[in-house]
C-alpha cells in the first residue's frame, strides 16, 4: 500500500469513527434532543469521506457517500425530519462504508451479500431523501422551495483555478485527474485546458518531468477551503492558484493581481474565443493556507526511541567511566547529557501517547449492539477518556476490552425481568474507567449485574480438572479462574459469548503487554475486572538494586519507600516473612533467596517497599545503587517463562540487570 493510500485509510477511519461516535451520542438521547451541531458533524464526516475518496478516484465510495450526504444535507437544512429509523440506517451506512473502503482499497469487488447490503442501504437512503416518505417530510410551499433554490444559486461562486504541477509531480504517483473528477462531483468544471507552451517537442522531452499547466473555470457552492482541501494530498507537488471571479477578497498578504495574458496554447487555439477568461480580469487571488497536523509513520518514532535507548546506554557508560576516573568535568557533562536525554525521551514518548477516549468510544457501539441483540437495556458510562497510554498498548488492549464488555453484557447484566424481580433498575449499567496509578494505567470494567457465582465456577473448574477437588482457594483465586482456558459457566452458548474461549485470551493479551488483570465480584451486585497496564513499553525510570552479585531494576514508580532491615527487625521476624511496618503487616520477599542467588554477607540489608494496585510488599535487597534510566530489552525465548522478570537492561559497564515484574512478584507474595 502506498503512503498516500495508507494516509487515506487512516483519514477514512478517523471520519468513520467521528461518525460512529456522533451516532452513538445521538442514540443515547431522545431524537428531539439531537441538535444541529450533531447533524453537521455527521454531514462533515460524510462530506470529507466523499472528498477523500474522490481524490483517489474511488467512484463507488464517492457515489455511495454522495447519497448519504444528500440525505444528511436535507436533514440539516430541515427539509426532512430526523427519525430513529434514519439513525439506525446511518449506523448501517457507517458499517458498510468501512466495508466498501476496505474492498475498494484492496482493489476487490463487493461479494454478493455485500452488494445486496449496498443496494439495500442505497434504496433506503433514497426512500428517505426522495419524496417517497411524506410523513417525515417537512413539506415546503412552492414559493418557499423556489426561494430556497434562488438562495442556492446565490451561494454559487465562480473560480478560475490554475494548477501547475512541479517538475517531479509525475513521480509522486498522484492522479490529478481524480481530483478534477472529484471537483466535478461537488461543482461544475468547465473549460479545462492544458497550457502546453512549456512542453518541448518529443525530441527534447524528458518524459518523467512535468511541463504542464492546467486551468479551468469552476463553479460550486462550497467555500474556497473545500476546493483547497481537494488538493490536500498533492499540495506539496503543485503550485495552485484559485481566483474567485465573483467577489474581491481582501487578504493581508495578497495584492490585486492582473492575470498574465498568455499566448494561446495549441489546445486553446482550437477553442472558441468566447471564453470569459480571454479578457484580462482584474481580480484578487486568494491563497488559503491550511493548518495541518503531521502524520508520522509509527516505525519512525520507534526508530527514534531505539536510538535514544542506545544513547542512554552509551551515556551510562560515559558516566561510569567518569566516575571511575573521578573526572569531575566529564561527570558534569554526562549529567547535562542525562538531563537532555531525559527531555528528549519524554518528548518522543509523548508522541506515542494517545488518549484512550477514541478507542473507548468505539466500544460504545459494541455494547449497544450486543445489548440490542440480547434484548437488554444498558447504560454504558465511560470515564477517564483523556487518560494517555502508549499507542501500541491502546491498539492491543482494544480486543481484550471487547471480550470483557461482551461478557459483561451477556453474563453480567441480567435480563430486564430478572433485574426487576431482584429489585434492581431495569436498565443495567456498565462502567468503563481509565486512570493513572503508580506509573501504570488502570482500566476497569464494572457492571451492576448478577456477579460471578463462585460455587459454579469452582465446580466447573473441578469438572474441567483445572483445580483439584481438595484445593482450598480464596474467593479471588476462584474468580480468577474465569481466565483459565476452557472454562465457561454460561448456560447456553450464544454468538456473543459462552464458549469458554476469550477470557484466557484476554489474560494472555494483557500479560503480553506486561500488564495484569484481576477480577472481583459480589453475587447479586456485580463484577469488576481491573486491568493494570504499563505506561510505555520502551524506557522506564528504574531503581537499580543488588542482591548477591546480581543486579535488578525495580520500576521507580512502583517504589513507595526504602527502609533498612535492621538486626532488630530480623530478630522480631522470628523466621517469618513479614515485619510490622508502623502498625501494619508488611509481607517480605528476599530477592536473593527467591532467585537462589549466592549469599554474600553484607553489612546492611534493605527493604524496598513496592506497591501495585492495592497490593503492597517489601523486597529485601543488599545494595541500593539509585535511579537508573532503564532501556527495556527483551530477554529472548529462554527466559520467556520466567514471569517475574519483565526484561533486561544493559548497564554502563556492559553488565545486564534484570527488570523485576513487580505486579507478578506481588501476586506470588501477597
Amino acid at each position: 500500500m502506498t503512503e498516500e493510500l495508507q494516509l487515506f485509510c487512516e483519514d477514512m477511519d478517523e471520519q468513520l469513527s467521528i461518525m460512529e461516535d456522533t451516532l452513538m451520542d445521538m442514540s443515547e438521547i431522545s431524537i428531539e434532543a439531537v441538535d444541529s451541531e450533531m447533524i453537521n458533524k455527521l454531514f462533515r464526516a460524510m462530506h470529507t469521506m466523499k472528498g477523500n475518496a474522490g481524490m483517489f478516484g474511488f467512484d463507488d465510495v464517492v457515489s455511495f457517500a454522495h447519497v448519504a450526504e444528500n440525505l444528511l444535507d436535507q436533514v440539516r437544512n430541515k427539509k426532512i425530519v430526523l427519525t430513529q429509523a434514519m439513525l439506525e440506517l446511518f449506523l448501517l451506512v457507517n458499517d458498510h462504508s468501512r466495508t466498501l473502503i476496505d474492498v475498494t482499497v484492496q482493489d476487490e469487488q463487493l461479494d454478493d451479500d455485500q452488494l445486496t447490503c449496498h443496494n439495500d442501504i442505497l434504496a433506503q437512503l433514497s426512500a428517505f431523501s426522495g419524496l417517497g416518505k411524506p410523513d417525515v417530510l417537512d413539506l415546503k410551499s412552492d414559493k418557499k422551495e423556489s426561494e430556497a433554490e434562488e438562495a442556492v444559486v446565490d451561494k454559487i461562486s465562480s473560480y478560475h483555478i490554475t494548477i501547475k504541477p512541479k517538475d517531479s509531480f509525475f513521480k509522486s504517483d498522484m492522479d490529478i485527474m481524480a481530483i478534477i473528477k472529484y471537483l466535478g462531483v461537488i461543482g461544475d468544471v468547465t473549460n479545462l485546458t492544458i497550457e502546453d507552451s512549456d512542453i518541448p517537442d518529443i525530441k527534447q522531452l524528458e518524459p518523467l518531468k512535468s511541463y504542464l499547466t492546467l486551468s479551468m473555470q469552476y463553479q460550486c457552492e462550497e467555500p474556497i477551503d473545500e476546493i483547497v482541501a481537494a488538493f490536500e494530498f498533492v499540495k506539496d507537488d503543485i503550485d495552485l492558484s484559485i481566483i474567485n471571479i465573483n467577489e474581491k477578497i481582501e487578504t493581508e498578504n495578497t495584492e490585486s493581481v492582473e492575470p498574465a495574458v498568455v499566448e494561446p496554447s495549441i489546445a486553446e487555439k482550437a477553442k472558441p474565443t468566447s471564453n470569459a477568461l480571454a479578457k484580462p480580469i482584474k481580480k484578487k487571488e486568494t491563497r488559503v493556507e491550511k493548518n495541518f497536523s503531521l502524520r508520522v509513520d509509527s516505525s519512525k518514532v520507534d526508530q527514534l526511541i531505539n536510538l535514544i535507548s542506545e544513547m542512554v546506554i552509551a551515556n551510562a557508560k560515559i558516566t561510569q567511566i567518569a566516575d571511575m576516573d573521578d573526572n569531575i568535568e566529564l561527570l558534569e557533562a554526562a549529567d547535562t547529557l542525562t538531563s537532555m536525554l531525559e527531555e528528549i525521551r519524554t518528548g518522543v514518548m509523548d508522541i506515542r501517547m494517545v488518549q484512550v477516549g477514541s478507542s473507548f468510544n468505539k466500544l460504545r457501539r459494541i455494547v449497544n449492539d450486543t445489548a440490542k441483540k440480547l434484548g437488554k437495556q444498558i447504560e454504558f458510562v465511560i470515564s477517564g477518556e483523556d487518560t494517555e497510554l502508549d499507542k501500541s498498548v491502546v491498539e492491543k488492549i482494544s480486543d481484550p476490552l471487547v471480550h470483557m464488555l461482551r461478557n459483561s453484557v451477556d453474563h453480567g447484566i441480567e435480563s430486564m425481568e430478572k433485574r426487576i424481580a431482584n429489585g434492581k433498575k431495569e436498565k443495567g449499567r456498565i462502567d468503563l474507567r481509565a486512570y493513572p496509578d503508580a506509573g501504570s494505567i488502570v482500566i476497569e470494567v464494572e457492571d451492576d449485574g448478577a456477579g460471578i457465582p463462585k460455587e459454579i465456577i469452582l465446580a466447573q473448574a473441578i469438572k474441567n480438572k483445572l483445580v483439584s477437588p481438595t484445593a482450598q482457594l480464596t474467593d479471588k483465586e476462584i474468580y480468577n479462574l474465569i481466565f483459565a482456558a476452557g472454562l465457561s459457566t454460561a448456560e447456553s452458548v450464544s454468538d456473543v459469548s459462552g464458549r469458554g474461549v476469550g477470557m484466557d485470551v484476554v489474560k494472555r493479551n494483557i500479560e503480553e503487554l506486561k500488564g495484569t488483570v484481576d477480577v472481583d465480584s459480589t453475587l447479586g451486585q456485580g463484577s469488576k475486572i481491573t486491568v493494570c497496564l504499563p505506561l510505555t513499553l520502551a524506557i522506564i525510570d528504574g531503581f537499580l538494586v543488588q542482591s548477591g552479585d546480581t543486579k535488578f531494576i525495580i520500576p521507580l514508580e512502583m517504589i513507595q519507600e526504602c527502609i533498612e532491615l535492621t538486626s532488630e527487625n530480623r530478630s522480631n521476624m522470628k523466621n517469618n516473612e513479614f515485619i510490622n511496618l508502623r502498625g501494619s503487616i508488611l509481607p517480605l520477599l528476599d530477592i536473593g533467596d527467591y532467585f537462589d542467588i549466592n549469599r554474600v554477607d553484607y553489612e546492611r540489608e534493605n527493604i524496598i517497599i513496592v506497591n501495585s494496585g492495592n497490593q503492597i510488599a517489601g523486597l529485601i535487597v543488599h545494595e541500593l545503587h539509585g535511579e537508573f534510566q532503564t532501556v527495556i530489552k527483551p530477554l529472548g525465548e529462554v527466559f520467556e517463562k520466567i514471569s517475574w522478570i519483565s526484561g533486561g537492561t544493559i548497564l554502563g559497564n556492559g553488565e545486564v540487570a534484570l527488570i523485576l515484574d513487580v505486579p507478578m512478584l506481588l501476586s506470588h507474595i501477597v
Binding site: 509525475f170 513521480k171 504517483d173 492522479d175 490529478i176 485527474m177 478534477i180 473549460n191 479545462l192 485546458t193 492544458i194 502546453d196 512542453i199 518541448p200 517537442d201 518529443i202 525530441k203 522531452l205 518524459p207 518523467l208 512535468s210 511541463y211 504542464l212 492546467l214 495549441i266 489546445a267 487555439k269 482550437a270 477553442k271
Partner: protein, 90 residues
C-alpha cells in the same frame, strides 16, 4: 504505429517515448498512433502526446490518433478538450 500497451502510464512512459520518437523520426508526412489496445491513459502520457503533436507540427507531419475505443481514454481526451487539437473524431 500501434501502441501495444493496455495502459499508458508513468511506468511505461519512458519506453513509450523512446519507441514513438524512433518511429516518428523515420516518417515524413504522416504519423499514426493506433490506440486500439489502450484502455487507460494518464496525464503523463497526455503530455507525451502533446509533445509529439508539437514535433509533428514543427516538421509538418500529419498526426493521426486512431481507434480510440476505450471509455476512459475517450473521456480523458474529452475532459481536457483535446479532441479538436489532436484531430480526434468525437
Amino acid at each position: 504505429m500501434k501502441i501495444l500497451l493496455n495502459e499508458l502510464n508513468i511506468y511505461e512512459v519512458e519506453n513509450c517515448h523512446k519507441k514513438i520518437l524512433k518511429e516518428v523520426q523515420s516518417v515524413k508526412s504522416s504519423f499514426t498512433l493506433n490506440f486500439s489496445n489502450v484502455e487507460k491513459i494518464d496525464l503523463n502520457s497526455i503530455q507525451l502526446i502533446l509533445s509529439l503533436k508539437k514535433y509533428c507540427d514543427e516538421k509538418a507531419i500529419h498526426l493521426k490518433l486512431t481507434n480510440i475505443e476505450a471509455r476512459q481514454v475517450k473521456q480523458t481526451f474529452k475532459m481536457f478538450n483535446l479532441n479538436q487539437t489532436l484531430g480526434i473524431a468525437p
